[in-house]
């Protein structure tokens, strides 16, 4: 359900952009969402489409790129992909905060992001064809 709050923030930001750029139509919005953030892409898309209805954003495409997690270990020199827990009973792979080299606790360097990266626009003030 936190997807709803995130989608609201997203729509708010994009509508603000639209209001300042009335001659530009937003065709596509590209997000980056980290592996470590607990955001469900499908739910986010559903929330976005619901809120975008009957606004200038209706019909725009939401493209979500996943940012892989990168961890680093303060105990040894490991830096890279995290260790995954094969015994976990979740549908998606479950990453751990355990160092794949020494087994101690790692710190996340990348993977928490949830951000708009770019938007694709259509300039509508150029001559329309009838």
């Amino acid at each position: 359900m936190h997807e709803l709050s995130i989608a609201s923030g997203l729509v708010e930001k994009l509508l603000e952009f639209s209001a300042h750029n009335p001659e530009r139509t937003i065709l596509e919005v590209r997000l980056e969402i980290g592996e470590l953030s607990h955001i469900d892409s499908e739910q986010l898309r559903f929330c976005y489409e619901s809120i975008a209805k009957e606004t200038p954003l209706e019909g725009s495409i939401l493209t979500i790129a996943r940012v892989p997690a990168i961890v680093s270990c303060p105990h040894c020199t490991y830096r890279g992909r995290p260790d995954y827990w094969d015994e976990a009973l979740a549908i998606a792979p479950v990453m751990t905060m355990r160092c794949p080299h020494c087994g101690k606790a790692v710190e996340a360097e990348q993977g928490h992001e949830c951000a708009i990266k770019s938007v694709r626009l259509l300039d509508t003030h150029t001559a329309p064809s009838v």
């Binding site: 359900m1 995130i6 101690k104």
Partner: protein, 223 residues
């Protein structure tokens, strides 16, 4: 009807770097600064409904209120019974109603902070609400997050819901008085938690007979 036919050069991309979590994170940092200014430590408790968050907070308040100031924020606003129970102990209680019943956010907690005399509270215990995943994306300004799980959630609870542990510093495994009856190994649960996050503090408790509550209080005092 006017039809728009885009020429390729009329379609273009622009960078629009904007974090969707930043607004909340900024408010969380403001909360934290305000708390630090008063030497107050906020602790965020999360976990499934019925795991024992309110009971644990009540026990902690009973233990700590004579040695330091304590206040409680209750975000689990389905009933006011929880808040009433804690208010009977004579400490400030702020009941926070969330808009979508999903999670507390830094804005709501910030409003709560303005309702109490922070300087009198060494601790603010925040009972978060909601499913186990939502609150992780929304820091509140607390210094530590405690996840409360109970053995009645079964032997595979950590493996089934691993995500909520990754952002926590302390895990309380509650209702260990029921472990034998439930056929659940507390040891195995602790191992599971440490597999996910080796440096997390795990404290088994029974809020029914008081086991482990002291250890939780000591851990919080040491933060």
């Amino acid at each position: 009807m006017i039809k728009l036919e885009a020429q390729p050069d009329e379609i273009y991309d622009i960078e629009l770097e904007h974090s969707l979590l930043e607004a909340n994170e900024k408010l969380a940092r403001q909360n934290r600064a305000l708390l630090d200014e008063h030497g107050t430590t906020a602790i965020d408790f999360m976990g499934a409904i019925g795991s024992g968050k309110t009971t644990l907070i009540t026990k902690l308040v009973e233990k700590l209120k004579n040695q330091c100031g304590v206040a409680v924020f209750n975000g689990d606003a389905t009933t006011s019974e929880d808040a009433d129970q804690i208010e009977k102990l004579g400490v400030p209680v702020v009941q926070i109603a969330t808009i979508n019943g999903c999670h507390l956010d830094a804005n709501l907690v910030g409003k709560g902070l303005r309702k109490i005399d922070i300087s009198k509270a060494k601790f603010i215990f925040i009972e978060n609400i909601g499913n186990l995943i939502c609150p992780a994306e929304f820091p509140l300004g607390s210094k530590a997050r405690v996840v409360v799980v109970s053995v009645t959630e079964g032997p595979w609870m950590v493996r089934k819901h691993p995500h909520m542990f990754l952002g926590a510093q302390i895990v309380v495994i509650n209702k260990i008085d029921l472990a034998d009856a439930m056929g659940v190994s507390v040891e195995a649960l602790i191992n599971d938690v440490h597999t996910l996050k080796p440096d997390i503090t795990v404290i088994p408790t029974s809020c029914k007979n008081g086991t482990g509550v002291d250890a939780v209080a000591q851990t919080l005092l040491a933060i």
